[in-house]
Homo-oligomer: 497 residues x 2
């Protein structure tokens, strides 16, 4: 017990360092002047090293071994905490800390270059920095793979989604690949036959968009005493539980990307905000990997907030916020417009039906990059070819092609699949929540998210990492592991129902 308690102390310290880094990362994206990049990179590299040193100290190794020899005295939460400590230790201890510091510096630099190069559509200027990041990620993946006894790519997956294997993703993505192309064509045909909805055009001042976004965040249950909404180039949910910071970006000619983005990030924020408070400083108190995290954003953005029920609540809010009128702003037209399917270039702007194709492309390419089957130099061509095959369109530029996402410049290889796995989990969780709470859809029509939040808090948020893997959490919450059935049924019902 003494060793276990020592471990809690060390991981609590490590958690505070990681929390400080989370705020600094938010600051990087939202506040930092451009010239601050170098000194910030040094700060982050130093904190990364300190956190890593804590995880890899010989003392901690001893405590882990001692605690694992005497688990009978531990509660279930403590046992789960110990397991998660061991997982974190494994990911940290097998990699040289200098390699992690190299990665921290390389990604800070690459992200900074990416911001400019993307705007200038300058892939050649960007490529050397991405190459450097990839080379370091490959080294890290190799070391972890040897240690974990899996492929380098699976070792990367495990970092974002504990226990996830590419073999399982391959099966799921094969089913989706078999379903989606035909389905998409049928949806598009049906849309074509029904005629295009009137466009939701106009001028939507940022101040009004922000006000509407904040009002909807409050409806969803976002706690502004413990969080903020700001602007960044690439929207994200950052900060720490107790101080959750989401971002969006505004387009004056179109309010939907920001509004739906804010709803998406609020889903993430609710998860962070409802994690069990007494375990916040411990590994077991963290979210259960990114495929569950993404399910929480998508259950808001794609499941709850695009139901006819919630859209009937949202429509008058939009009309009031922007002072708009006319046929375009009738509920039916708005629903048709918001749920419009279109083959397009940009993942973050993609609709629910074509989004998985964007993800499957990135999954394919990053797996190939990690195994050196695809060189950075050849990325634009491979991207464009894959877009034509999977999404059915070819990018007009690298800016709207392989340079659109921050993930790879940020060193996040193995992250993309969690978006679509999250969508599948979201459909499964929403189906279970509706079954458990028969009046859930009616409550959404009142803009009331308390039933949904209560169910999610009980079955997902309050569990932290108690179950140890996404699939185990899904079984406990819904009675079954990752499964495309509810997801496919959801798509069929919404788009062809």
């Amino acid at each position: 017990m003494k060793s276990y308690l020592k471990l809690e102390e060390i991981f609590s310290t490590q958690n505070a360092i990681e929390g400080a880094m989370a705020v600094l990362h938010w600051d990087n994206a939202v506040m930092m002047p451009e010239g601050g990049a170098d000194v910030r990179a040094e700060q982050l590299a130093t904190l990364t090293t300190l956190s890593h040193d804590l995880l890899t100290s010989p003392q901690l190794t001893d405590y882990l071994q001692e605690a694992e020899q005497d688990t009978a005295v531990l509660t279930d939460w403590q046992k789960a905490n110990l397991k998660e400590m061991r997982r974190l230790w494994t990911h940290a201890a097998c990699v040289d800390s200098r390699l992690l510091a190299d990665l921290s510096r390389a990604t800070a630099k690459c992200e900074m270059v990416w911001r400019k190069a993307r705007a200038a559509n300058d892939f050649r200027g960007f490529a050397p920095y991405l190459e450097k990041v990839l080379a370091i990620v490959q080294k890290i993946a190799k070391v972890k793979a040897d240690y974990l006894g899996c492929s380098p790519y699976d070792a990367l997956l495990d970092n974002y989604d504990p226990g996830r294997q590419s073999a399982e993703i391959d099966v799921i993505f094969a089913k989706l690949s078999a379903f989606l192309p035909d389905f998409t064509t049928r949806v598009l045909e049906r849309q074509h036959a029904a005629g295009a909805p009137l466009p939701l055009t106009g001028n939507f001042p940022v101040a009004q968009q922000k006000e509407l976004g904040i009002r909807i965040m409050q409806k969803l249950g976002f706690d502004f005493q413990h969080g903020r909404l700001d602007v960044s180039h690439h929207p994200f949910c950052g900060g720490v539980p107790g101080d959750v910071r989401i971002t969006t970006r505004y387009y004056e000619h179109d309010f939907l990307p920001s509004l739906l983005g804010v709803i998406h990030e609020t889903g993430h924020a609710l998860y962070e905000g409802h994690l069990p408070e007494e375990w916040r400083h411990q590994p077991v108190g963290k979210a259960q990997g990114m495929s569950i995290h993404e399910s929480q954003s998508l259950i808001m953005e794609m499941q709850a907030c695009r139901t006819p029920q919630f859209l009937s609540f949202l429509q008058p809010q939009i009309v009031e916020a922007f002072g708009v009128s006319g046929d375009a702003w009738q509920e039916r037209n708005m629903v048709g417009s918001i749920n419009r399917v279109k083959r397009s270039l940009i993942r973050v702007d993609a609709d629910e039906v074509t989004y998985p194709a964007h993800v499957m492309l990135r999954y394919r390419l990053e797996k190939a990059m990690i195994t050196d089957d695809l060189r950075i130099h050849d990325l634009p061509a491979a991207w464009n070819e894959g877009m034509q095959e999977l999404v059915g369109v070819t990018p007009d530029s690298d800016k709207n092609g392989c340079m659109q996402d921050i993930h790879w410049p940020g060193g996040d290889f193995g992250y993309f699949p969690t978006y679509t796995l999250g969508a599948i989990n979201a459909a499964q969780l929403f189906a279970a929540a509706k079954k458990a709470q028969p009046s859930l859809l009616d409550s959404l029509a009142q803009g009331d998210f308390s039933l949904l939040n209560a169910w999610l808090t009980e079955h997902v948020h309050s569990k932290g990492s108690l179950y140890g893997s996404a699939n185990k959490l899904m079984i406990a919450a819904t009675g079954k592991s990752l499964d495309v059935t509810d997801y496919i049924q959801h798509l069929q019902s919404r788009y062809l129902g």
Copy 2:
């Protein structure tokens, strides 16, 4: 040499931790939602401990001793760096960490009580908490004094202004006390005879104040590629060299406090921004204590920006920014209004002439508190008596009297003198700069600060802590140590010239 290089490595790490904390402190004051306070306190406490542990490790003690035995191999910068390392080590290592933790708790509590008690004018409710803080500060001062071989109060001074001695301050303040009362009376008589300037009243929207502030910051040489301007309750200059963050606070009925505050903080920011880049991560690369830091804010706010030359540049900027017109906005009236002298109760609102009296009062009282010659119980009476004697007014309440500043509740005894020593240094540096650059004043009339900045960068900013004390820096820059001559001459020329 090996030990010295190890020291550079450790202090570089410690610098990065302190830098991360500086950004988090900025975030506390500018961005953090209220509910984030607890988790932020954990982050800061953890980083404080990590930084302190680095400074007080037995290994570091060994490296210091080894390096000090072989200084012949070091350059002048490295020797100065080593001295500054030893000074930092002394302040950190000779005090028991439990005593520092006691202070941290006591000041956190006292500051909290102070906020409420001050608003309620409740000195009796506040006194016990201040007594507790004072008792701990006395203990710490005693330990440091024994170690450094000086008086307890001098040990406190050394923390803010390395090498500063109260004997020297006594001499300077005696000269000022002999000069100021008579001088102030003469200035007020002259003002009275000339008649009051027209008030600069109006409504000054925050957006326009901010725009003007930014324009003036740019003129002064603030680099927005490496810094920001934001809003906080108490204005300050924070962040780190390379990412300097200043704040202000706007009043819609009066633009002057913000504009002059922005100029003041920009002076601090220029110092931080121009510190020698290659030494930024080392102790010798830091600013030369607070009396020099304050001189850099005051050389902008009080010396350069209140010259008739710069005010002739500023006047049309103000007129344009706010679209104002009429006699009040003529240059002569504006100059009279900006340089107006008045006996008043609040230090932070005091003018250039009466400000030193506020500081001399605090210096006298805090020295007496440290030596137990003044008990907290007797502070209000001593304060009010001193205000009448030194400033010429008696406070109407403790709220506007001895409870107005956060310094003592925050444990900062020994800090106040640096304000007036800074003003004296500023006058001395400005006189030397004008002598070296005969066209300096003419350039200010064009809103051109390049001559002034070049001189300050060469003689002050780029030196970091190379000289080891404010007086040595002043001798190198101006040919003489701390001296009131230039300061008195400046006051005479501005207010009676």
